[in-house]
Amino acid sequence: MTTETQDEGLEYNFAYLDEQTKRMIRRALLKAVAVPGYQVPFAGREMPMPYGWGTGGIQVTASILESEDVLKVIDQGADDTTNAVSIRKFFQRVAGIATTEKTEEATLIQTRHRIPETPLSEGQILVYQVPIPEPLRFLEPRETETRKMHALEEYGLMHVKLYEDIARHGHIATTYAYPVKVNDRYIMDPSPTPKFDNPKMNRCAALQLFGAGREKRIYAVPPYTDVVSLDFEDHPFEIQGWDQPCSICGDSTSFLDEVIMDDQGTRMFVCSDTDHCASRQAQGYQGPGQEAAE
């Protein structure tokens, strides 16, 4: 855990946002929790980073943050990639809070497109950065129409899309942003997480909050809420699998990234969750890559 004090003479309001903005976002969050999976419009602010860098997630985090929180930020499962590092530094600077890379130590986890492999607990909140919150957007570009479809629970089009996948490829080819139904009512975009993570959303003990900055929408999944990935009886939902374990820690149950090693086609598969991989290594687990190197 590290803390960093603010630069002298340059004071931001706690967590950057002004208090009225926080109240507006807080009220939207309460509605989002009360209507699981429904996208609540909010007056998204410009943040000191471009859209696409997690401005929605950052506004949600800034509005719920308190000084005792311990923040973890991940980008595709990794704590040490650009987006994660810059957001972590941002909150150290504007809120002076403690940060961590350990999933168990965090009270608040902001994520870009992965859910940690370590199961989350009741005391934790997971904040997702969402680029396009509307799951029906690529099927129906008009906001007035998608809003009506949600109101009428008219989701046939989404099943047609999945069916067309089967007709064309023989299986449902959607591998990320795989649509889910929340609390048996709203169809929700789980943000572009791999479908591998969808089962972790179902009846998760932690509160899950989603923020889309450019599209100005907030939505939520309360703890222990049913989150069902859409499928068909004869084509049930399946998650990705790999025919080899992580090269570094040897785990065969985590989500693996393919890494190209040279221009001869050599590749290795490693855990996308860096904290999960590092803690397994610390426990003495070794993957085939490590054994070969010895």
């Binding site: 309001n13 706690f14 967590a15 208090e19 009225q20 926080k22 109240r23 507006m24 807080r26 009220r27 939207a28 969050l29 309460l30 509605k31 989002a32 929790v33 009360a34 209507v35 699981p36 429904y38 609540v40 419009p41 509005s63 719920i64 943050l65 308190e66 000084s67 809003r147 009506k148 949600h150 109101a151 009428l152 609390n183 009512r185 709203y186 003990a205 509160l207 939520a220 999944v221 309360p222 703890p223 222990y224 809420t225 049913d226």
Partner: protein
């Protein structure tokens, strides 16, 4: 009313609003769990500590609020106006937040805004003031935020009040979200929660 009559608000507004909101969010995300207030701001009678906490952390000039006649006086309206800037709304059908004694639940719930099919978030939040939370009776709650079932027994809810809450949950995704505000703690029943009455 002279400025010297004003009761102070949060002693550390930024921090106190943040910790209060986290409790309210936690209560809303876990219906039926009674959450202790992390901070207590001075309470102008006849409001109570949790109601003041909710008002100071969530109200501002964008949120017309309504007070039941039993809670309404110049001192309270002046207090909320000074600390939050929120306009008092005499017609509770138009209010975004409604504060009332829990005994009035059945009548108030009839006419609070429940949102629209396309914008279910444009609904009111009810803040029902209770004397506390009992150990028996009340309702069994199930639904989002609840692992198996939670029992909640706010003191003073009438049988008609419970019926009003059952009707409210049938309206989902429309409906009103209810915060039960006590002198030391608060609990919530959002519209997504299903209720079964328990024998007292």
């Amino acid at each position: 009313m002279a400025i010297t009559d004003l009761t102070p608000g949060f002693s550390d507004p930024v921090r106190d609003a943040a910790v209060s909101f986290r409790i309210i969010l936690d209560a809303m995300a876990r219906p039926g769990e009674v959450k202790s207030l992390p901070v207590v701001a001075p309470v102008p009678a006849p409001l109570n500590a949790a109601a003041v906490c909710v008002a100071l952390s969530l109200l501002d000039s964008d949120t017309p609020y309504w007070l039941a006649p039993d809670l309404r006086n110049d001192r309270i309206i002046g207090h909320l106006s000074f600390h939050t800037g929120a306009p008092f709304e005499p017609d509770y059908k138009k209010a975004q937040f409604a504060f009332f004694p829990v005994e009035d639940l059945a009548t108030v719930m009839q006419d609070l805004s429940i949102g629209t099919d396309e914008y279910p978030d444009r609904s009111a939040t009810a803040v029902a003031l209770v004397a506390g939370f009992g150990a028996t009776g009340g309702v069994r709650l199930t639904g989002p935020g609840i692992e198996t079932a939670n029992d909640l027994s706010p003191v003073g809810v009438t049988p008609a009040g419970w019926k009003a809450l059952e009707r409210n949950s049938i309206l989902f995704p429309l409906g009103v979200d209810i915060l039960f505000a006590g002198p030391e703690s608060l609990a919530a029943i959002p519209r997504s929660t299903r209720l079964t009455e328990l024998e007292a």
